[in-house]
């Protein structure tokens, strides 16, 4: 099966600093791909390249097998790539429906089509089995951390997206809410989406991922199936870029 998203040989520099070296990444539908790496390994930069925030210097960007050019977040969204950032980018003074449609409101003539938007939002939340939210007309300011994360994820899913990238969705959440978000992440993939999960928490990574992509100092150390590796191997990949046969040899992927 063709991967939904495939990156090959991605280089990215900020001035004299080269942040990504020859990075390859494959993301498949129906799977959760965990993107792991130490602070400064280039996870966020890679994701911003995928999302069109940073232009790539060189390399191939294939979407559903076809080479594409992504110059702006709008291009990425048009392809069906949604990114949920750590800060969630929700507006506290708006309700859930307004947030989910922010900037992309449905219109009927010159007025907003509130009914359709409300129905779509409700249907999306229901399809994700979100039961913790009392009313979809609730202001986001009244929601807990886990609920906000849920709304941000639902917002990403609303647009028939094909790839959803989640940047540390469980950071700053309590255990009960983390469990709910992890189950939601898993459900997204089980419904056929391609999910990229950035996380520092190894339990979260092992709990829901199908593949693990480990970045080390701007290079892709290895992309492995989660069922084939142990916790210590992944930790080694993150901290030293290699583990046994896996990983980088003199900075070059095996």
């Amino acid at each position: 099966m063709t991967p939904v998203l495939e990156l090959r040989g991605i280089d990215k520099s900020f001035g004299p600093v080269q942040v990504l070296h020859d990075v390859a990444l494959t993301v498949r539908a129906g799977e959760v791909t965990a993107l792991v790496g130490d602070n400064g390994a280039g996870k966020s930069t890679l994701v911003k390249c995928v999302g069109g925030i940073h232009p790539i210097d060189s390399g191939e960007y294939l979407f559903e097998g076809k080479p594409v050019q992504v110059h702006s977040p709008r291009d990425a969204a048009a392809l069906g790539i949604e990114i949920v950032y750590q800060d969630l980018a929700l507006c506290d003074n708006l309700d859930i429906v307004q947030n989910m449609f922010l900037g992309r409101e449905n219109k009927r003539g010159i007025v907003l089509d509130e009914d359709t938007m409300e129905e779509m939002a409700a249907r999306t939340l229901a399809s994700l089995s979100v039961k913790t939210v009392k009313s979809i007309r609730q202001h986001v300011s009244s929601l807990s951390g886990g609920q906000r994360q849920t709304v941000a994820i639902a917002k990403a899913v609303l647009w028939n997206s094909k790839v959803v990238i989640l940047d540390e969705p469980t950071a700053a959440l309590g255990v009960a809410q983390t469990a709910q978000v992890l189950e939601l992440v898993r459900r997204l993939a089980d419904q056929g989406l391609a999910v990229v999960l950035i996380s520092h928490n190894m339990n979260d990574v092992f709990a829901v991922s199908d593949r693990i992509a480990a970045l080390y100092l701007g290079r892709m150390a290895a992309q492995v199936k989660t069922s084939d590796v142990t916790h210590s191997q992944v930790v080694e990949l993150i901290t030293s870029g290699r583990s046994g046969d896996l990983g980088l040899t003199n900075g070059v992927p095996a």
Binding site: S129, G174, V175, A176, T178, A179, L182, E183, R186, M202, N203, D204, V205, F206, A207, V208, K225, T226, S227, D228, V229, T230, H231, S232
Partner: protein, 495 residues
């Protein structure tokens, strides 16, 4: 010699199959039923007419159609009219529910079960009372078509007697018979092992829908299991199959309630986790008299809340306590382990709250040394959640405990994967929390101990039905008869 099934048998089978479709998938249009069941339209029409006449389903015009042509009628289960009673007997809780056709929980009651010596009356009494309360509230045109219970113990398929239940302290209990007598509905009470029924529930309504081979692992105090092979629950010769909790993983390991050493349940169960985390309170001293001990804890006067007497030891008070603990931890000390054990720390509202018992006090003496800790020792799911929570916040003792338990759990799952090659393993009950908190260990074990071809396509999931999995399974068991022969069962129930 028989030539084949008679017309009457085919009709009965089709009626049951159609009702099952509507029961499991919810409102379905006739056109879709025609497609899915592979029967022709007039047959479907005749079948739905029979079921409608019996009051099991009703037909309605669909709300909206986006297609041209005459809309196909939608067949809905009569959820409000046809129902069953489902019971769930866990170590710490008793649940009774009235569940409508289609799987809707119409009414539900729950109470806390005190850990202690098993008494049939203490289980049957509250459940029967709940059922009577719920029965009284029903309209006269409703009909009860079955009763079933999930029991935390091994149930004999032959006579429905609970043969063993080490964590309940029950041996040879004629639970179904007694329950049926007390209910007085004239219906037999089917009894099943809770984890077996949880497996069926996840298979029919949960995360395992469409999955032919799965294993459901249920963590209560012990570990239960349900193995579904090619769509059928593996019961074994007498129905005791799937007791994965008593698979020996560590022959020189911890003693198990069943009398053996190193059963999976002894290494992974609630007690193993709490002991490793140094949080195993009162029960270390007097296994079956925890509540009493809690009452007589010397430091009760110093505590802000009323000492948890037997009545107040309800789920609410426990969860309130864990909430206040959470508030405390958010507020201040990042590592609860640093707080001297037994000390009281001011919480957000200023009232003193006993410190976590998470200090490195793994010795069995800990409970004696720390009376105030003992008096507040959490049990059951709340205690397990507290360990996972502490580990998440950086408590090293809790982390080590979870990691140890996760390692054994992974070993158990690896064995199961090698034997059964399931498509999915589902973690339910308290194992949901344990899996999510120790997934790295569980999957590392699988990577090293499970055979590569067997683990390659394995999916590990947490229960979609959560705490209701066993109850939903009991309801499905109660519906079995009406789905096998709808008209006959309804006629008998109505008379």
């Amino acid at each position: 010699m028989r030539a084949g099934p008679s017309q009457e048998e085919i009709r009965r089978h089709n009626l049951g199959a159609l009702l099952r479709h509507v029961h499991l998938s919810g409102p379905t249009s006739r056109a879709e039923l025609t497609n899915r069941m592979g029967l022709n339209r007039s047959t479907i029409m005749a079948l739905t007419a029979d079921l409608t006449a019996a009051g099991l389903v009703r037909e309605e015009l669909p709300r909206e159609t986006r297609r041209a042509g005459r809309p196909s009628l939608v067949v809905r289960p009569e959820s409000a009219r046809v129902y069953v009673f489902a019971f769930d007997v866990g170590v710490d809780r008793l649940v009774a529910a009235r569940v409508g056709l289609g799987g809707t929980i119409l009414d539900r009651r729950e109470t806390v079960r005190r850990r202690g010596p098993f008494s049939l009356e203490e289980v049957v009494g509250p459940l029967a009372a709940f059922a009577r309360q719920m029965h009284r509230k029903t309209r006269p045109d409703t009909v009860c078509v079955g009763v079933a219970a999930a029991f935390s113990g091994g149930v004999d398929r032959g006579d429905g007697v609970v043969r063993f239940g080490p964590n309940m302290g029950s041996v040879d209990v004629p639970f179904g018979e007694e329950m049926g007598r007390r209910l007085g509905l004239g219906l037999p009470v089917a009894v099943g092992n809770d984890a077996n029924l949880g497996a069926l529930a996840e298979h029919t309504r949960g995360v395992g829908v469409g999955c032919r081979d799965l294993i459901y692992l249920h963590g209560d105090v012990g570990i239960g299991g349900g193995v579904i092979v090619n769509g059928t629950l593996l019961g074994g010769h007498r129905g005791f199959g799937g007791e994965v909790g008593h698979m020996v993983v560590n022959p020189r390991g911890r003693p198990c309630g069943c009398g053996s050493l190193g059963c999976l349940e002894a290494e992974v169960g609630e007690r193993a986790l709490l002991e490793a985390a140094g949080r195993f309170g009162a029960f270390a001293l007097q296994p079956w008299d925890g509540a009493q001990l809690r009452d007589s804890a010397p430091s009760r006067d110093a505590l802000p809340r009323e000492a948890p007497s037997q009545e107040s030891l309800s789920r609410e008070s426990l969860s309130r306590e864990s909430l206040s603990r959470e508030a405390l931890s958010r507020d201040g000390a990042p590592s609860t382990g640093a707080v001297p054990p037994g000390d009281a720390v001011p919480s957000r509202d200023g009232s003193p709250v006993p410190a976590d018992s998470s200090s490195p006090a793994g010795s069995p003496l800990a409970a004696e040394v720390l009376p105030s800790t003992v008096s507040h020792a959490l049990i059951g799911r709340d205690a397990v959640r507290a360990v996972v929570d502490a580990a998440d916040r950086g408590d090293v003792v809790a982390q080590a405990a979870l990691s140890r338990v996760g390692d054994w759990l992974g070993l158990g799952v690896a064995n199961l994967v090698n034997i059964f090659n399931p498509e999915m393993v589902i973690f339910g009950g308290m194992l949901r929390e344990v899996y999510l908190g120790a997934a790295a260990q569980v999957r590392s074990r699988l990577a090293t101990d499970a055979l590569p071809p067997a683990r390659e396509h394995l999916r590990l999931r947490t229960s979609a039905l959560g705490d209701d999995a066993t109850l939903v399974g009991a309801a499905e068991l109660a519906f079995t008869k009406v789905l096998a022969d709808p008209l006959e069962v309804l006629a008998r129930a109505g008379s």
